[in-house]
């Protein structure tokens, strides 16, 4: 199966992380299949109908008989809070009962927000840990040097019972970021640029390691965007180093000890890519795939009816701050619905205290309750023929309702500039005036 490396060879972050958690106690090399102990499991609606049916089908007629460690299971009802239908309210009521029955202590059921952001806000994970969840964007935890990755519902079933899962140890891809500290949140633009140059499966099943002189200048907000979008590049992990920025973020959020994980200098990479952000053009993902990247000037002038900033990719302070900066003292273009959804209540409060929410509302933007709805056909549906530009995670056909609507993905600056102009524009001009 895996190529066997001599013990003396250096390890990547993924190899080190999975070696540390390998139940067999041996060194894990890229390509190996290991069974690993996990440190945490995030479920956003783990006990809904299919999970209960899954248990019954498997033989557990009364549902899951236990969770392996009630202190390491985090249930956050992010997709369905507040509930937008009777059916979802009924599901939430069942989850509540299950959580009580299983003795799970960390349960956020009456607070809107995106689970991934709340995992960070509440310090539920630490560098060097292996934390899984039943959502593809759990990969965002790599921003904090946490081995975070998405799992399927059935994987979660196994993980909840035993606290273990199988992993194929991934090959690693090193992405070196260079350039001057940007004056706007640039993470989304970097990922779109990568998808355009190398394809949306450039990191298929691999572990991305972000490194380089720009990294110390990237906020946790930016790192979470880059890490979350690891999955849009196909990755299993998307890891950042644990540096001063990380420690500063965690200081007030966790008092538990941790052991961060770094690659050895002689680790082996399947691929190495360098991105110089000073040379990076503005691009967007055109409908209907993440990898359908075009230079912004090619689509400039496209009229829009909706603009959005939010989600686990772009619902953070700096994403909302740039929108407020672009719109301060100005108005959203007539006929454009500009939806902004902070990623969590903490982020919302942070924006509120900074005066951003007031500025955005005065400019004509709508502020949506924190949560996943803005990135799905749940809040802000599109009609046939409508065009939306959005700083959220995905632009698949029908993602926001009508399959005959068009969704462009852009960075938050690009989106805010479009909301102001009423059409897609190169944000260079706007940026010059900020």
């Amino acid at each position: 199966m895996g190529r066997r490396k001599a013990k003396t060879m250096g390890q990547t972050i993924a190899e080190k992380l999975l070696s540390r958690h390998n139940l067999a106690g041996t060194d894990a090399c890229a390509g190996d299949l290991v069974e690993a102990r996990i440190d945490g499991a995030m479920c956003h609606y783990h006990a809904d109908e299919p999970m209960i049916e899954m248990a019954a089908q498997a033989g557990f007629k009364d549902g899951l008989p236990r969770v392996w460690d009630p202190d390491r299971v985090f249930v956050l009802m992010d997709h369905h809070q507040p509930t937008l239908s009777q059916a979802l309210a009924d599901v939430n009521a069942r989850v509540r009962k299950e959580v009580e029955r299983l003795g799970i202590k960390c349960f956020h059921d009456s607070e809107p927000g995106i689970a991934h952001q709340m995992m960070a806000d509440y310090g539920l994970m630490r560098p060097g840990e292996l934390v899984v969840g039943n959502d593809s964007h759990c990969i965002s935890y790599g921003a904090l040097n946490v081995g975070g990755t998405g799992m399927t519902r059935a994987d979660m079933f196994y993980a909840l019972l035993f606290g273990e899962l199988w992993f194929q140890v991934p090959e690693s891809i090193k992405i070196t970021l260079t350039g001057h500290k940007p004056t706007y949140p640039i993470a989304k633009d970097i990922v779109l640029h990568l998808a355009g140059l190398y394809g949306e499966d450039v990191a298929a099943s691999m572990s991305i390691e972000y490194t380089g002189p720009l990294v110390p200048d990237l906020s946790i907000d930016s790192r979470m965007c880059l890490a979350a979008h690891g999955v849009e590049l196909g990755a299993k992990f998307a890891m950042f180093p644990a540096d001063a920025v990380t420690h500063d973020f965690l200081r007030t959020r966790t008092d538990r000890a941790f052991e961060s994980v770094a690659a050895d200098p002689d680790a082996t990479y399947a691929r190495e890519i360098t991105v110089d952000i000073d040379e990076m053009p503005f691009v967007v993902a055109a409908p209907h795939q993440f990898g359908n990247i075009v230079p912004i000037d090619q689509v400039a002038g496209t009229a829009i009816q909706q603009a959005q900033i939010g989600s686990c990719a772009n619902g953070r302070f700096e994403d909302i701050e740039i929108a407020a900066r672009v719109l301060r003292g100005r108005k959203v273009a007539r006929g454009v619905r500009f939806l902004i959804s902070p990623a969590s209540q903490s982020v919302y409060l942070q924006c509120l205290r900074a005066g951003l929410i007031e500025q955005l509302i005065e400019a004509g933007a709508q502020v949506i309750t924190p949560g996943c709805g803005i990135c799905q056909p749940r809040v802000g549906f599109l009609s046939d023929g409508e065009v939306c530009i959005t700083a959220t995670t995905r632009n698949f056909k029908g993602r926001k309702g009508s399959p005959n609507a068009e969704i462009y993905l852009g960075g938050p600056l690009t989106v805010a500039a479009a909301a102001l102009a009423g059409e897609i524009v190169n944000p260079k001009e706007v940026l010059r005036g900020l």
């Binding site: 799992m151 035993f162 499966d201 298929a204 698949f396």
Partner: protein, 175 residues
């Protein structure tokens, strides 16, 4: 119910491109019940698929099949797809297929040997997928033993049940 990877499969091919996302395979936000999903799966790419797919058909796709959200492709089994054969598959879709024992095979080069509507033959034991009309064939990737065991158990929840019983003794009958 376990899935025997070694059972030979032969079926009519539905051929799709690269980066087919789970929103298209399983658009459950718009169609929350299985009955509705069966009428809409894959229609984003092939509007005729839900009406014309027949039990025993084989789905062939390019790179990065099942990218996007973690959503299982159970609906494809429900409409009768006997196997999925792809150039490459997104890791979450692959995990979903393993965990629910839905036959999926990675066979780089497969899109070069079949066209839409052709017949395709899958032989896991000899690690080959073949177009019987032309004789052209490519190798499929075998799974590690643990994954083969999960398929044989009928999926990961079933595999978990077997392990739990081994470790804890029989699970008592329902209250």
């Amino acid at each position: 119910m376990g899935f025997d990877l070694n059972s030979a499969i032969r079926g009519r091919v539905w051929k799709f491109g690269d980066s087919i996302e789970t929103d298209a395979i399983n658009p459950y936000y718009r169609y929350p019940t299985m009955a509705e999903l069966k009428l809409h799966t894959m229609e984003a790419y092939r509007p005729e698929f839900p009406q014309q797919v027949r039990p025993g058909d084989v789905l062939v796709a390019g790179r990065n099949f099942g990218c996007g959200s973690s959503r299982p492709g159970l609906v494809l089994r429900e409409v009768g797809i006997a196997a999925i054969v792809v150039e490459s598959v997104s890791r979450l879709f692959l995990r979903n297929n393993i965990a629910r024992a839905l036959p999926i095979f990675m066979a780089p080069g497969v899109t070069d040997i079949v066209d839409d509507g052709d017949s395709l033959q899958i032989d896991y034991q000899s690690a080959t997928v073949r177009n019987p009309a032309t004789g052209r064939h490519v190798a499929l990737r075998k799974f590690p033993p643990l994954i083969e065991q999960i398929f044989a158990a009928g999926g990961l929840p079933e595999f978990a049940f077997q392990r739990y019983q081994r470790e804890q003794g029989p699970v008592p009958p329902s209250r």
